[in-house]
Symmetry: C3
Subunit: 264 residues, 3 copies
């Protein structure tokens, strides 16, 4: 029994997500549908790609991921099925699937063309329901990926800026802010090692034209309540957080903001 | 294995939805529960009926729908089970179930009376948990609809205002605003055809004492980002939207607002 | 097939909940995962304990509850598994599990120590994913509770203030405000009986230095729309509500606020 895992920016108040689930269950009543999230910021392909990447690391082998953050639905952008080591990714060709699929290892990318597996008269505005959901359901029934379309070699890949180390400084940026207000950056243990940073060391942090002296700690509780700290989060990236507080609100930080880190 | 699909205005932060699920699983541990949504605007029976109608079109035959937007719980309003072609609808007699049930075709309507299938000492404030959830669970186990109460022929039906065409103008209104800010109206392709409107045509839109000239397009991307357009949405109704933007916020529109459309 | 019921303060927009589900399904692909809620107010152990208590009353025997509201994750606070009559509770030793577990009857409390059942290299910041989720999954596969750690007899218990009756007055406080704005207090029918209060009686309510005369009713509809009333809610506690309105907003009340009730 394959898991079908859904990620969208549709929110939960409307009919969109339930229609996708209804379509899947109408084709495969035994499908095991799991929500990754439907609260991706509207139209934010970058955030969707990042959350899909983090979630897909932990799902069972063979999981079928359906992801829809699709501002150009109805245009010429292609509908895709990616056959990857350990899972399948279905969604629009706008980079949304690529972080996760590359992490697993891409075996083949198919453009979805076989309308036999689409809903009849698919809409121009909701491929999630009319193309991606039924393809996922048929795939979960054992239809071969090749059946759904033609293999392609050219597709959108998101260009995420990598952190870098220059003159003993880490130059990185905010890639995601979670619901706790934790600030997730694109710096990793790889960059911290270059600065020979160890747990307990102090860091000069520059962000939004302000400077903070913060501790590099193991967990939130290592600093007093209300204090800013840096840590490697459970996602594997450098995170700026406030113990029992909201770092992003306090620092007035948003995705894309530049950060400079320096060992003291 | 029947699907039990839930729709309420309970929100997700409290215990209400989980208690309903607990009750269902305590009676039928194999029940396949799917959330349509629990984010219907509080007490908005109209919005609940509309979303239930849109969702139910896509669920498998035999689905048991439990819907609770129930401002008059504990009053004399009847608890209902509707046996419809293709599914069962359980909820209060306030019109909530009727759009969806009529669309499928009503076979019989039962007033729920057989307390044997209620929870013991049902509360006056939470029939979702104490009456509707257990009835749904027993129904999913194969208990006959007739077992739960008596057939009735008089029940509330929602009176949704229909759009109309007068002197080459469509007079319609806003029936729902989705989480993207898309404005869904009660006009349909039927009304557009009367105006001989085709894709690419221009429309004069009057709403909230303002006038807009907008294109009737196939999908959002057909106009520039930030531009207002009209299209037939994936729900089958005329929708006013802004490409990658929030039309309802920009136009300061809410459900019930009147709209006049005219071909240019 | 055991139900695994999840309660957290993680919200739904991020990857946290989905990673927990992925971990569970990777260990037991047949696990039946049900969300109680993930919208507990951040870091509010008290609110989490209360909702878990209310939900757990209605789930099937044998349900495995995983609850994570865990501001001191990564500190010395212990990870627990509670074997209770009718279910298992997994989560941090901060009182979160105790209201629900005590209600069911605690058989044994185990400190989770056997790293064989943890994820490899568990993080210091996300025990929900790295310790609690895998333990729940292995438990659902039939591993004995004793396998996971050592029985302990000392653990945190939340100290919830009880309502009391003094000189014909009920002194109570707000313990929870639901998404309707209903104000749930720690007074129960036990306290009301001491005042010989019956349905239809009038009450003097003092809260936030204001005084209200309200009716003790059976359900919301018993008073006019917009009117404040008192009733025993479906949760079994005395609730202050406004028919079709938001009592907490109107009275500017929050959890912990003191209330005095007096029969007129």
């Amino acid at each position: 029994m394959s898991v079908i895992a859904l990620l969208t920016d549709f929110g939960l108040k409307d009919h969109y997500v339930s229609q996708m689930k209804g379509v899947i269950l109408s084709i495969n009543e035994n499908a095991k549908i799991v929500d990754i999230t439907h609260e991706i910021e509207k139209y934010n392909v970058y955030a969707g790609a990042f959350i899909l990447y983090l979630a897909a690391k932990f799902f069972p082998k063979g999981t079928i991921y359906v992801a829809v953050v699709d501002p150009s639905v109805g245009s010429e952008r292609k509908p895709l099925l990616i056959d990857a080591k350990g899972g399948f990714f279905i969604g629009p060709d706008n980079g949304l699937l690529m972080l996760a699929a590359k992490e697993k290892g891409i075996t083949a990318v198919y453009q979805l063309l076989n309308t036999k597996y689409f809903r009849k008269e698919p809409s121009s505005t909701f491929h999630g329901r009319d193309i991606f959901a039924p393809i996922a359901a048929y795939l979960s029934l054992g239809v071969s990926p090749k059946e759904f379309g033609e293999q392609i070699t050219s597709y959108e890949a998101p260009s995420f800026i990598e952190a870098k180390v220059e003159r003993d400084k880490i130059l990185c940026e905010v890639i995601y802010i979670d619901s706790f207000g934790n600030i997730i950056t694109n710096a990793t243990p790889f960059h911290l090692e270059k600065l020979t940073l160890s747990l307990g060391d102090w860091i000069n942090l520059r962000i939004k034209n302000k400077k903070y002296k913060i501790n590099f700690s193991k967990s939130y509780f290592n600093v007093k309540k209300g204090r800013l700290l840096a840590l490697i989060g459970s996602h594997g990236f450098l995170e700026l957080a406030i113990n029992s507080g909201n770092a992003a609100k306090n620092l007035k930080v948003k995705s894309g903001d530049k950060i400079v880190l320096e060992k003291i």
